[in-house]
Amino acid sequence: MAQAAVEIKGTDTTALITGSEAIAVACQLADVDVITGYPIRPYDTVMQYIAKLVADGQFDCEYIVAEGEHSQFEVVKHASAVGARVFTGSSGVGWMYAFECLTVTPALRIPMVAMVGNRALDDPGAFGVEHNDALAVRDLGWQLVWVDSPQEALDTALIAYRVAEDRRVFLPLAISCDGAFLTHSQALVKIPTREQVDAFLPRYNRGDLLLHPDNPITVAPQANEDWLMEIRRQTAAAMERSPMVVREAYADFEKKFNRSYGNPFFEEYMTEDADVVLMGMGTLSMPVRVAIRQMRKEGKKVGMVRMRWFRPFAAEEVAKCLGRFKAVGVIDRDFSLGSPYMSGVLATEVRTALYPSSKRPPVLGFICGLGGREVTVPDVNKMADLVYQAAEGKPLPLTQWIGLRE
């Protein structure tokens, strides 16, 4: 017999599920109305699990397998406009195939929640994780969050609906899950009760923006230079309000579920007395934590700052946090070719966040773990050593590729 689908029970239960399966369970708990899919690894794991939940009669939703990612994202966009809670997602070039739909969603203020199973963009055809797929929409009004465990995936998906569907925000949100490391690894996850979720997550209310005969409106008419800048400013204002809503959601999550994530925007690990810190997003946190524990036995005070929310980017908080350390190493599981100092996306943004600050530690950028390559504990040790050298004032290249055959 195949693995049985998780049962939502009246009491807290524990299930052995992957990050993708955890997000599917969150959709079930959030009682999502319309789900669209189009298969591509590693995102397809969430499709399969939702299909199982639907087939087993445990989840009542419209589940549409579209003829391609472009339609897939258009269908949920329209469903959301008429008041449905929606879920969709993709990976790598599938996400890019939907790009036109991704660009139009924020301005229409559609609170679409998507899962990106992070995957390297072709060519070459590779299944492994790189963050460039999700990061491609970083300028467009999408909220972007990275998680590093199946538990965090489930919890963050619930928080995602709360944030995206808040009338003050109404912006799409993508939850990034590292391909393989998170989408395909089963770990033990606490499954909350429906009562807990209902108490946390209000119903989606589109209010005056509901596309309905009783509320006659036209959405997205042609508009040129007389209008566009004001429209962009509105979308920007929504993104400006997002951090406040994120904070509220995490605070209430802690009350309703008795699980705390501390600072919503980034996780700090062993930073209290740290000389230097390593920064990154997603599951590379695991080898970093293990390496930090080993290095601390040798007296090296290294800490970690794991970014969860990349959009909105908590610049002031990041700057304040990083100002406490002698040097910072940013591990990018992405690239931004031709960017300042040839760094990755996160390193470039961290430097930008630090610039107005009076305390600006040196920031080294590392490109590591591309295409699903493992970020190993020795890789982390090497990066920490380089950051220590930077802290001592040694001039070093601002970007280095780690774990490369060279």
């Binding site: 017999m1 690894s185 293990v290």
Partner: protein, 391 residues
């Protein structure tokens, strides 16, 4: 730092994927009943899983969360306490889709660790097939055929729970039989399966394999180039076309042997291989034309010799051959090397005919993609009988 446990399940995609997943999942759940956290995952690089391609799934368990995280920080374990092989032909080596070269089946098995295999063969035969290992290891054989247990269209043969029962016996610090039975009842709701696990627990035994035993060949390997050594633009050189064949016996040159990839050979994918009756071959060329892997060498006299380094055992040649019993697929377990059938035939034709007859008569079991309709249902009663205590 507590104790870390790792179990790998080596299986053949795609039909054994669910079996492997169910196994690693149940291992984690059984250990969880004893307060040990764990994770289970399939090796991502092995997908997409084509028929027969060797693949791996893992269960990692720690005595505490910190220890587990130490294990999880390495995506693929460097060593395992227990290796499970759910198809005995994997003992010849594991060449993954992920292009790691040919790996000995016992490569990750810890010194004095255990390999559990489902097989109808005796230990001597299996030990001779596996590559030699520098340290001793234990071998446990659970009698059975390569199982498709858990695949939704097939009936259940209890291979999954028999392996779990054996693990409880061979690695008692991982989990007890009680925890296995509890997991079985929770996951499968089946008392009979719990009994099968108990029978396997009671009856499993091991033999120790010494470093002096096994296949002495060194598996082929290759060095990956540095980034600046690689050609730009994701361009790779083609494999040269090929060359004429030499017939040493007749001192003749002719025919055609294609050059082949020396770093990705595919033969570990094979569960059945073609044997060719060169005396009845009518040289129609169909096997050579239709072979998707260009694995046939054309001999100087115009016969077609399936090259066993190149053949992945798809069976197309058998299907297209118009001559009765000229090309016959035979279970891979019957062979101990990849030598040329044509050379053997050239050397001694009567001896070759006797060899051919013997291979075809003794091993007609169809495996993996070669199963006939209803075969699994035919095998299930026998497998259940074994599981419940018969032999």
């Amino acid at each position: 730092m507590g104790r870390l446990f790792a179990v790998e399940v080596i299986y053949r995609g795609i039909f054994q994927k669910t079996l492997a997943k169910n196994l690693t999942r149940a291992i984690v759940l059984a250990a969880h009943h004893e307060g040990k956290p764990g994770i289970s995952f399939g090796r991502y690089g092995d997908s997409p899983e084509r028929n027969g391609i060797p693949a791996k799934a893992f269960a990692i368990v720690g005595t505490d969360d910190i220890t587990l995280e130490e294990g999880m920080a390495k995506y693929e374990p460097k060593e395992v306490d227990i290796t499970v092989a759910v198809d005995d032909t994997l003992f010849k080596g594991v060449e993954s889709w992920a292009w790691y070269g040919l790996q000995p089946v016992n490569r990750l098995t810890k010194p004095n660790g255990t390999i559990i295999v489902t097989s109808r063969e005796n230990p001597e035969m299996l030990i001779a097939m596996a590559h030699r290992k520098e340290t001793p290891y234990k071998l446990a054989i659970l009698k059975g055929t390569p199982s498709f247990s858990g695949l939704w269209v097939y009936k259940d043969d209890h291979t999954d729970v028999r392996i779990l029962g054996a693990i409880a016996r061979l690695q008692p610090d991982l989990f007890s039989l009680e925890s296995v039975k509890r997991t079985i009842l929770e996951e499968w709701h089946n008392e009979v399966k719990a009994t099968s696990a108990e029978r396997a627990y009671e009856r499993v035994s091991t033999v120790t394999v010494q470093p002096s035993q096994g296949n002495p060949e060194k598996p082929y390997e290759f060095v990956k180039p540095k980034w600046w050594e690689m050609r730009e633009g994701i361009a790779i050189p083609c494999i040269p076309q090929g060359h004429q064949m030499k017939d040493a016996q007749a001192a003749k040159t002719g025919g055609f042997q294609p050059d082949r990839n020396s770093t990705f050979k595919k033969y570990a994918t094979r569960t059945m291989r073609p044997v060719v009756n060169f005396d009845t071959c009518i040289k129609c060329t169909l096997c050579w034309l239709q072979c998707p892997d260009t694995c046939f060498d054309v001999t100087p006299e115009g016969l077609y010799d399936a090259n066993m380094e190149s053949c992945c055992g798809c069976g197309v040649c058998e299907a297209v051959c118009p001559v009765k019993d000229c090309v016959t697929m035979v279970n891979e377990i019957s062979f101990s090397d990849n030598s040329s059938q044509w050379e053997s035939w050239r050397h001694d034709k009567p001896a070759y005919q006797a060899w051919l007859k013997d291979k075809i008569e003794k091993k007609r079991e169809r495996s993996h993609g070669f199963r006939y309709r209803g075969q699994y249902q035919d095998q299930v009663p026998e497998m259940l009988d074994i599981a419940q205590g018969g032999d």
